[in-house]
């Protein structure tokens, strides 16, 4: 029978049918030609004639190719021949990704493990970056924030706010700005229809709103006629306050509210976008500052912001403000110290985010990067192991034409896919981790409430995912590509030495990085433990503190405070529950007041000391020993000679072994200049010395401190922070209701006061270590994570190696090696890279000691005990990780092992 297939096929060869389809068509058309042939034969034609006729008819038109060409099936894309490149980069890339996706989905267990490990590492990084971004990197949240600058005085090595005179001078002379303003926190207590509450309130200078670019949603800003000290009292309220306390009605403009017990007219409502101060909760109420400039006032508490004039660059403004320093120095020589560098423009993060916080954030970023690298090493090992198992497939591809580059690209496509999925997961995980971090952060950090996922965090996460995928992908791809064909098909399952070297190297890296993190965590823990054993200098047991949440306007002068404290103390005289009670301007270990002072009669002996106003029972209540002289008594009141008690540190510093009793202190005066004329109280006599306590923090050595009786304290110092005095009380019996006694006593003295907060002083001590505790916990968590990942890596690598070397182990056992010897062999192999890693980790820790040193207390960064303890932990965990595979190896059946291949 004639064969039509060849001819039909020839007509179809130029078309792109898939092989299966082409075969079908050839079949079908051949059948048709057969039918034609047989019909002719049946009609009587001889077979040769029938064949000739049929063939002639088929060849007559020769339009088959032309008519078939438009069909979709004639234009099928070329089949995916593994290893063959189409020559077009994007198409190849798409093929690679498709194939990678298939592979990843096929080996689900492996992929899920890789994704989870990477998601952990990426998530941690994303979390820390989002905090870093919110606190340090993001631009300020008001209109055209880049046109707003801070003016800062660079004096004696750090940036300070301006003094009154400096503000006035630069305000009047600097030409680069449209507006310049300053502000101050002022007490705020609003009384609306009987409901009294504290509000966040700012006093602002003229042009404040103009500098920041905020407008009023209702009403207007302040007029020039409202900013003098005797002008009518006006205020602006925030959008939030308008909504919640005034029902969002337009009638609020022009209405009167009671602010600090005064009638104040609301002239406007701030725009909803108002968010100042930006390092804290936004203010609810803004009032004119009404401050006057006194040339004798050298206090630097005028933070200054300014808006750049249109067309002026930051650099030009910087030059402008700096150039005024010398003329200022000539005009006001007393205002400029010798080492002062002059006026400069500063950024937000330089001013409002303490250097310590910045250091912590960047160190944290470094720590999570280490964790990420460890995770990468783990996943790289996983990919390496899998690449070894795919030796056959890679060889096949190579035989079909794949270059080393193509193989590398294929493996990288898989790693990129895994990393991108992990990145998406990590972004969500990071968001959760970040919110936990923010919730637990013990200190006030500017803008930390703004932490969230924005485009920058997403971009960062994406870039990190991509980078890590290339990192661990290439670690696996490189040996795979290199060992493409070379003896692969004959190769014993032991694997190339290149692969095994990389694997060992990754384990060394993991161990080393874990070691660094563990050392860091260990040192922070040691610091924390050391600090918890520091003697604060007073006895916090059974000691309770009382704090009032706001300061009513009627408590204005120091005498008001004194009167209040005296009455409360009298209320509790003879109380069965309270053994002793005293008032103070602040609690130990919390922020207090400090002031410059000069020793009487020695104008060259001066300095800044901690200043506390206390009632007579203070030292007794706190358990502070009186070392010489006498303590305060009820006769030390206004009108009587002003007295003070100093601590040992003060006496040591200024009197070097002589007794300071009888000597005098001039507070508020330094080198002939007053920092605030109303704070001046010259000639305070020292009547006693008390033991040092840690006034500022447990880490800091006791500062030079002076105590004055509340009755004699000057109002401007006493009311400096705008807070009511606190009380400390020692309970008489354990279990007596101290809180109720204190609360009722205060209520009895002044029922209009808001409810006081009562808490144990132990809380204050613990809270003062909150930062250290937080840091130690955080780093310990990271170190534990790193340790777990490393252990996983060691176990995985060792288990894989044993599987590859089953035959060898079988031979050894057949030759007489005992289970113990095999165990030892495996353990040694597993531990060796860890030992090297530990060594490298120790060296790196020593190298990084400078970074950590600022966080430590009581230990050095190279503390041998910590290093040794941490090394032991790491080696212990590593040994445990090696143990299971080692036992498995020891329990191998030699016969089976020898037979396996």
């Amino acid at each position: 029978m004639p064969d039509w297939a060849r001819e039909v096929r020839a007509r179809l060869s130029s078309l792109r049918f898939s092989p299966t389809r082409e075969a079908e068509i050839v079949d079908e058309l051949s059948q048709h030609l057969d039918d034609q042939y047989w019909e002719l034969v049946a009609a009587g034609s001889p077979p040769e004639e029938a064949e000739r006729l049929t063939r002639a008819d088929f060849q007559r038109r020769n339009l088959l190719t032309q008519y078939m060409a438009p069909l979709r099936q004639a234009n099928a894309p070329p089949s995916l021949t593994p290893g063959a490149s189409t020559g077009r980069v994007l198409i190849d890339l798409w093929h690679d990704l498709r194939y990678a996706a298939r592979t990843v989905l096929k080996e689900r267990g492996f992929s899920v493990l890789a994704v989870l490990i990477m998601a952990l590492g990426i998530g941690a990084n994303s979390a820390v970056f989002s905090v870093l971004d919110a606190v340090l990197l993001r631009p300020l949240p008001f209109p055209n924030a880049e046109r707003v600058v801070h003016l800062s005085w660079e004096g004696g090595g750090h940036l300070q706010s301006l003094s009154a005179v400096k503000f006035q001078y630069w305000h009047d002379h600097a030409g680069s700005f449209d507006a310049m303003a300053t502000w101050r926190h002022v007490p705020g207590r609003v009384d609306t229809g009987g409901e009294v509450s504290a509000v966040r309130s700012l006093g602002v200078s003229r042009d404040f709103l103009q500098v920041l670019g905020y407008t009023t949603a209702l009403g207007r800003g302040f007029a020039a006629a409202e900013e003098g000290p005797h002008d009518p009292k006006v205020a602006l309220i925030s959008h939030e306050m308008w909504r919640t306390r005034f029902g969002g009605t337009a009638g609020v403009v022009g209405s009167t509210i009671r602010l600090n017990d005064e009638a104040v007219t609301v002239v406007g409502v701030l725009d909803e976008s108002f968010a100042f101060p930006y390092d804290d909760e936004p203010a609810d109420v803004i009032v004119p500052l009404r401050a006057t400039v006194d040339p004798n006032d050298i206090a630097e508490n005028w933070p200054t912001i300014a808006r750049l004039r249109e067309g002026v660059t930051r650099e030009q403004a910087q030059a402008d403000v700096a150039s005024l320093t010398e003329p200022f120095r000539a005009a006001y020589p007393d205002q400029v110290s010798r080492q002062a560098r002059g006026m400069t423009l500063a950024t937000f993060s330089e001013l409002y985010v303490a250097a310590g916080v910045r250091r912590v954030l960047w160190s944290l970023m470094g720590a999570v990067t280490l964790v990420l690298l460890i995770a990468c090493a783990n996943v790289a090992n996983l990919f390496l192991a899998r690449a070894a198992q795919r030796r056959g497939e890679i060889a096949l591809r190579t035989a079909l034409g794949a270059t080393a580059g193509r193989i590398t690209r294929l493996i990288l496509a898989e790693s990129v896919l895994v990393a991108l999925v992990a990145g998406a997961l990590g972004l969500l995980l990071g968001h959760w981790i970040a919110s936990v971090l923010v919730a637990l952060t013990p200190i006030e950090v500017a803008r930390i409430a703004d932490v969230g996922i924005d485009w920058r965090v997403t971009l960062f996460t994406f870039v990190v995912s991509l980078a890590t995928s290339l990192l661990f992908g290439s670690a696996a791809a490189w040996p795979a590509a290199r060992a493409r064909l070379s003896g692969v098909l004959n190769e014993s399952p032991r694997g190339s030495s290149g692969r095994s070297r990389i694997r060992q190297g990754l384990l060394v890296a993991q161990s080393g990085l874990s070691m660094v993190l563990l050392v860091g965590a260990g040192l922070l823990v040691a610091t924390l433990i050391g600090l918890t054993h520091v003697d604060p200098g007073f006895d916090p047991e059974d000691l309770v503190a009382v704090r009032l949440p706001s300061t009513p306007a009627r408590y204005e002068t120091a005498q008001d405070f004194w009167y209040f404290e005296q009455q409360v103390v009298q209320q509790l005289e003879g109380s069965p529950v309270i053994a002793s009670i005293a008032g103070a301007s602040s609690l130990p270990l919390e922020r207090g007041i400090n002031t410059p002072m000069t020793i009487g009669g020695r104008p060259d002996v001066w300095g800044t000391v901690e200043w506390r106003a206390v009632t007579p029972g203070y030292f007794q209540t706190l358990g502070i020993a009186l070392l010489a002289g006498r303590t305060f008594e009820n006769r030390d009141v206004t009108g009587r000679p002003p007295v003070a008690i100093v601590n040992e540190a003060f006496a040591r510093q200024y009197f070097e072994g002589r007794s300071p009793i009888g000597e005098r202190i001039e507070v508020g005066r330094v080198q002939g200049k007053w920092t605030d004329p109303s704070r001046v109280s010259p000639g305070i006599e020292i009547i006693g010395i008390v033991a040092d306590i840690r006034e500022v923090s447990l880490r800091t050595e006791p500062r030079r401190t002076m105590y004055v009786p509340q009755a004699q304290a000057p109002t401007q110092l006493s009311n400096l922070r705008g807070t009511m005095p606190v009380f400390v009380a020692r309970g008489r019996l354990a279990g007596g209701d101290v809180e109720r006694a204190l609360t009722s006593a205060i209520r009895a003295v002044d029922p209009a006061l808001p409810r006081p907060q009562v808490f144990p002083v132990d809380d204050v001590v613990a809270h003062s270590l909150a930062r250290e505790r937080f840091g130690a916990t955080l780093l310990s968590v990271l170190a534990a994570l790193a340790l777990a990942l490393t252990a996983l890596g060691i176990y995985g690598a060792l288990a894989y190696t044993i599987q590859q070397r089953r035959r060898e182990i079988g031979i050894r056992m057949a030759l007489g090696a005992s289970g113990q010897q095999v165990t030892r062999l495996v353990m040694v192999q597993g531990i060796a890279p860890v030992l090297v890693g530990v060594l490298l980790g120790v060296v790196s820790s020593v190298g990084l000691s400078r970074v950590v040193a600022s966080f430590l207390w009581g230990v050095t960064a190279t503390d041998a005990a910590t290093l040794a303890a941490v090394a032991v932990i790491l080696l212990g965990v590593a040994l445990a990780a090696c143990w299971i595979p080692a036992r498995e190896a020891a329990n191998l059946d030699p016969v089976n092992a020898l037979n396996c291949e």
Binding site: E24, D27, E28, Q31, Y67, L71, R72
Partner: protein, 114 residues
């Protein structure tokens, strides 16, 4: 009359209609179709192998007909085509269109009645 010219012109406009209506009656394979068309049209319409199968494949790609391999005992496997639901719908439309066209032509060219 030039059969070949008629052949070509009419075939162009009606090829699909022919195939669909023949397959509507019953499933057929390619050779059967070509024989049927030839015999029923009295030789006026013929489909060469070069044009028949591309047409069938085009109709199959559109989803109007579906081809299935059928294996009879002692026989080579053949591809039988049948009309799909969608094909039946198209066929009805095309029949209507064709009938309307024929009617219109007839009315225009039909003899004047006295």
């Amino acid at each position: 009359m030039n059969t070949r010219a008629l052949d070509r012109e009419l075939k162009k406009g009606s090829a699909e209609l022919l195939i669909l209506s023949l397959l509507d009656a019953q499933p057929r394979h390619g050779y059967q179709l070509s024989k049927l068309i030839d015999s029923r049209s009295g030789g006026q319409l013929t489909f060469h192998i070069d044009s028949l199968y591309p047409l069938l494949y085009r109709l199959e790609e559109r989803g109007w007909i579906k081809g299935t391999w059928v294996e009879e005992p002692n026989e080579r496997r053949r591809r039988f085509y049948k009309v799909t639901v969608e094909g039946r719908r198209v066929l009805a439309e095309q029949r209507k269109t064709w009938a309307a066209f024929v009617e219109a032509v007839r009315r225009v060219t039909g003899g004047e009645h006295a």
